[in-house]
């Protein structure tokens, strides 16, 4: 029989699963594939351009085209369709449900009634608004997941420099990411040590005390480590203005990619204009 899991255990295992997923993403980003082969700056800039277009378009058909395009990119980047759909459709209802469902009804979107559900009237305008909202969220989440699954996290951080984010900010983000993994390891070890001593069944009050005690311990450790890391930076010549290695090189492939994306984007805008939307 499956043992019921407490709040603490669920939170810990959920958090650890999230970080394991992040590690899996880094592996996916290291595989050969269309998007993986691109310079992260070119990739981020083009996917951002498609995302902005998805937010501005007034055509459902264009949103459909963009979604099919995202699915094709996932396939060309050797991401399994199942993994991609699971990763995107976990977030889509989360972002859209609370806004899209109320928009269906006449109270939020007055217009021509098309159906009645439990005394509430669904309008044509409501259906259209909900479809647009869902379409935009679907395309945006798909493009974002594509970027995150095909770009190693540190490269994504470095690509931020191309968008004018200061080096010190990028460096702090990079160091934070690095140490989050370290402390996740500490939490995992602590959790395993607790389980080895007290078993699986911990009463909620005792569990809360254990978690609070360990949070305090972790805070002290992170504070100490913070001091030592700063010393390690000073020892290697850090004087307050970080300098980092930039190894990105735009190649012919990136040029072709950006040209193709620009052409597709212009084509979509032109088609939308010709349809008179």
């Amino acid at each position: 029989m499956r043992r019921p899991r407490g709040f603490i255990e669920r939170t810990l295992t959920g958090t650890l699963a999230f970080f394991r997923q992040a590690l899996y993403d880094d592996e996916t980003a290291s595989r050969p594939g269309l998007l993986q082969a691109l310079d992260p700056r070119a990739k981020a800039a083009t996917l951002l351009a498609f995302l902005l277009y998805a937010l501005m378009t007034r055509s459902l058909a264009m949103l459909g085209v963009l979604y099919v395009f995202a699915l094709a990119l996932a396939a060309a980047s050797r991401i399994s369709p199942r993994t991609f759909l699971v990763r995107t459709w976990v977030f889509i209802p989360l972002f859209s449900l609370f806004l899209a469902v109320p928009a269906l009804f006449s109270a939020v979107s007055p217009g021509r009634a098309v159906a009645s559900v439990g005394g509430l009237t669904v309008t044509e305008q409501g259906l259209r608004a909900a479809a647009f909202f869902l379409g935009r969220v679907t395309v945006s989440v798909s493009l974002t997941v594509l970027l995150s699954m095909t770009t190693r996290h540190f490269e994504l951080l470095k690509a931020l420099r191309a968008f004018g984010v200061p080096q010190v900010f990028v460096m702090v983000l990079g160091i934070s990411t690095r140490y989050i993994y370290l402390f996740v390891g500490v939490v995992e070890d602590t959790y395993r040590a607790i389980r080895s001593r007290v078993g699986f069944a911990v009463c909620p009050q005792r569990g809360q005390r254990l978690v609070a005690g360990n949070m305090a311990h972790l805070w002290m450790r992170s504070y100490q480590m913070n001091e030592h890391v700063y010393q390690a930076m000073l020892a290697r010549g850090f004087r307050g203005e970080p300098v980092a290695l930039q190894r990105f090189r735009m190649g012919a492939r990136d040029g072709w990619w950006m040209g193709a994306c620009a052409a597709l984007l212009l084509g979509l805008i032109g088609a939308e204009w010709m349809m008179g939307v």
Binding site: D26, H153, F154, L157, G174, I175, T177, R178, Y179, Y181, L182, G185, M225, H228, V229, Q231, A232, M233, L234, A235, R236, G237, F238, R239, P242, V243, A244, L245, Q246, R247
Partner: protein, 269 residues
Amino acid sequence: MASETVFECRGVHYAYRGRFPALGGVDIAVEAGERVALVGANGCGKSTLLSLLDALVFADKGRVLFRGVALTEAAFSDDAFARSFRKQVGLVFQNPDVQLFCPTVRDDIAFGPLQLGVDAKTAEARIGRLAEALGIGALLDRSPHQLSVGEKRKVALATSLAVEPDVLLLDEPTAGLDPRTTTHLIELLDAFARAGKTVVTATHDLHIVPDLADRVYVFGQNRTIAGSGTPEEVLADHALLDANNLIHVHHHHASDHRKFRWSAPDDKR
């Protein structure tokens, strides 16, 4: 040829937050090209002394001199001196996780040279050379959290060597390493010293001392230097090592262990 004194400590005292004493009057000297080992039990002040030698903390009392210049906060407010010192002295921390703070191994190795004004091309060349010498080429684009302890130690050493220092300070460099990796590390440090560099190693692992040092300073329980000499002299002085918790003389026989039995206060068996 007269040798040059690289480091000189005269009556150095240091206490953490002014309350927790770590050094109680240390006197040592390190000559250029010399290999020095600082040995002592846990918590005797070895790591603190290395931090003082690397000017990460400053003495409360007494003086630490580097090539005749006192290491003080005032001296490090001069950018030119600070940069020159950091180019000459490298420190390998006891905990490699402290030293590997960048998202990838490559970034970590490049960090020191880039902060010290080395151009990216030269930094890349140094990364390539070190990766080959240390056998870490396959790790360059990996994140430090994906490495084993031995790999982390090698990368941590690479991050300090990338600055191409004249003096290398190492804090427990072989802690937690398997015998093969320990031997490899000792060979690397030996090659570094043969190139005329100065190496100061803090350790409590007496087995590696003859391979790592020409001179040994033994830390006492009172956080001062209890004795010094060549590795042969110090390792032969069992009274000195025993008095300072570096060896333990067994007075009982193995059969005594079998008589010992754990019993909790409420053990009714």
